[in-house]
Amino acid sequence: MDALLAFLTVFTHPELLLLVGLGTFAGVYVGAIPGLSVTMAVSILISFTFSWDVLPAISLMIGIYMGGVYGGSRTAILLNIPGAPSAIATAMDGYPMAQRGEAGQAIGVTTVMSFFGGLIGIAVLALAAPAVSDFALSFQPRDYMLLAILGILLVGSLSTGSLVKGIFSGSLGLAIGAVGLDPLTFTERFTFGVPLLQGGISFIAVMIGMFGVSEALIQLQHVNSAAVRQKIDRIVPSWDTVKKHLPLSMQTSFIGVIIGALPGTGGDIAALMAYDHAKRVTKKPSRPFGKGAIEGLVAPETANNAAVGGAFIPMMTLGIPGDAVTAIMIGALFIHGLNPGPMLMVTQPDMFWVIVGALVTANAFMLLFGLTGIRLFTKIVELPRAVLIPLIMLLSIVGAYAVNNSVTDVYWMLGFGVFGYFMRHYGYPLGPVILGVILSRLLDDNWRRAIISDREDLGAFFHGILTSPLSLVLTVAVVLIFLSQTPLWRAAIGRLGQRRHRHAAG
């Protein structure tokens, strides 16, 4: 009963409801601007809400978080610039849809699916938090390493065209991610004695440059061609569309929750893995992937919003952040006199239910704000190129600067923009570069942790993999996914199919 009352707190207090709504609204727009991240917004809010009570402060933060994760899809669909790393996969099929004049439909599907994913994430948080957090804790360094390898195999799905070029892009990303002071031993890597490189290359700067600036440069070539007229009559997807994608969205939501709950991986990896999953399980996509498949929107958007609920799981049950935003929220709870940790659920169970309630509310607001104002948004794509291109450049520069308030990042961003332009020109996919940067540290750090833990004994390392059920499952997944991308697999499947055929005939 107390739990229900606590759950309803946000609904019964108009000022909390207003703050969640305000936060979600702001989050959608903060999330849509590349470089302005939710992490940044929430950390600014910590000082801003310092003198408030804990509930209003948390309500506002949760709103921004939920709205922001969703907002990243807007610019991804409309301009091919992901507003946040978790929207990279969204751009791959969202932007082709906008180019066909279906931006409204794409945003509609994205919004409804984000809402659905968000709901699944919250449901798992509310119903199974302790079990999921124990599962997340059982991930050893070698399991994180295997997860990263699994992630790297996504290069295959993220590359359209030549796989060799995709592998090149992925490796480039891994190398970019390794630049700077190694966070484990503080050894300089790829810095060539230049102090500027010690801090590494901002991954957001790479992303904005590769997607934003290179897009602007590409569009320069067609500066006089007319913009695509956007159809906005069908924004809310029909019930049939939703129903058709229900099984897929359930699967990708669960991918999102688990990846989100793991301390050390977040919505960006979840969205990419979900995209890959969709590509594997969808036999007949509405259109080929990469050319505007609805499934290519459904998967990443359900996953990254489900990851929000997931990230709260270790935070609420153990006081361990599931991602960067929940790390800041833990700090905020401290400042407001609570002690987030395993005891929080015991001493203040109400807090848990208030947060679940706020998440549900934020998710509902997200649906509301997402489905309104689309008309205005789609107008952006209909702008004449002469206006649109400078706008993209401006957004990119502001975004790159805002991450660290550093002009150096702006130069990096511009440099990678020009580089990305040539990569596109010669058919090198950009997605794998970002994938590589995201996974670089996860792979590198955890491989070293794993092998150091086993006292640099490869035998013990493989023994560990074979004896731990979790590691074994992950290894089998890695092997199967790897094999499925080789011609060997196709030949085997082909032969199997033939044999079955013959049996049926005979």
Partner: protein, 331 residues
């Protein structure tokens, strides 16, 4: 509108130098936090600074500038004007920059505004570990060299120094698994990827209270009110008292050359801010000892920390340069 005209006038006056230092602060003060949002340094700074800003009757805007074990933030503050409008909000790390070759400056090249608080390191262990106190732990580690997996947060970090203290007293060998921060390492400890982790009390206390890990040692000379019944490490290893009390700290600093009246005003503001009840309670809950010292007292504490840590690190063999090169005396 009126306010912006006023601000413009103030800016113009400041630009022409018509206003003397007594107008400090005449504009927004920037606080550069050395570590990421949500971490201990961040929490402490965001908790105390609003109170200090109130005492100062000014506005302090904080932002996190991370990277290079905090060296990036320090380099940034040192590259700004020495006018008291850029504060460095840092932890203990810069005191090791010189010997570890991470930077050319440390806190002796800055003016301390306030050393706010000090943390107490403790040893925590996985619940399944077959030892419950320091004596048993040392005995076990001796009998099984290299078998105990200890989390490490990099050379110069708290774990490396505490382990250097321990190995100077007992001939033990560990497998050191690197993690970026005590948070992820403590997570790994609960999941069984680590056996033992030296961490600051505040970071581990909630997990200890919930029974998810156990305390096996308190690296201090006296008992701690948050850990009743845990005897200080000096009981098992009396030689440790040479280094103790020692602990990570948090402080606010400005560039050398900042005018004295400005320094005095900032020092008074942070001294007042640190008296705030909410702040004191927050620090007590997290197991930090409030210091709130400035001036010579702060310099003395900072020098002591630097000398103990630098020589420990040097003697343990992972310093890049000898502390002697920088005139750091042996403790």
């Amino acid at each position: 509108m009126k306010a912006s005209i006023l601000a413009l006038a103030v800016a113009a006056a400041a630009a022409t130098g018509a206003w003397a230092d007594d107008a400090y602060p005449s504009k927004e003060i920037q606080g550069i936090i050395q570590w990421g949002a949500g971490g201990s340094t961040d929490t402490v700074m965001r908790a105390v600074t609003p109170h200090a800003a109130k005492a100062l009757d000014g506005n302090i805007v904080m932002q996190n500038k991370t990277g290079g074990v905090g060296a990036i933030a320090m380099r940034y503050v040192q590259s700004q004007k020495a006018d008291g409008y850029t504060l460095l909000m840092g932890a203990e790390n810069p005191q090791m920059y010189k010997v570890l070759g991470l930077g050319t400056d440390d806190y002796s090249d800055m003016i301390p505004i306030s050393v706010l608080a000090r943390g107490v390191p403790i040893f925590v262990a996985n619940n399944d570990a077959p030892y419950d106190n320091m004596a048993e732990f040392v005995e076990y580690a001796k009998a099984n060299p290299g078998e105990v997996r200890v989390g490490s947060t990099g050379p110069g970090g708290l774990t490396s120094i505490v382990l250097a203290m321990l190995t100077s007293q007992a001939d033990v060998e560990f497998t050191r698994v690197p993690f970026d921060g005590d948070g992820p390492a403590l997570t790994a400890l609960q999941g069984g990827a680590l056996d033992v982790m030296p961490a600051v009390l505040g970071a581990a206390i909630e997990g200890v209270k919930a029974g998810r890990m156990k305390v096996i040692g308190l690296v201090d000379v006296e008992e701690n009110p948050l850990l009743p019944g845990v005897e200080p490490i000096t009981a098992a290893l009396p030689g440790m008292s040479d280094y103790l009390p020692w602990g990570p700290f948090f402080g606010v600093f400005v560039k050398k050359g900042t005018p004295d009246p400005v320094v005095a005003e900032l020092q008074a503001a942070y001294a007042e801010g640190a008296q705030n009840e909410d702040f004191r309670k927050l620090m007590a809950d997290r197991g930090f000892t409030i210091m709130a010292i400035a001036g010579d007292e702060a310099m003395e504490f900072l020098d002591g920390y630097r000398s103990v840590s630098s020589w420990l690190v040097y003697d343990a063999g992972f310093a890049k340069k000898s502390p002697e090169e920088f005139g750091i005396a042996r403790p």
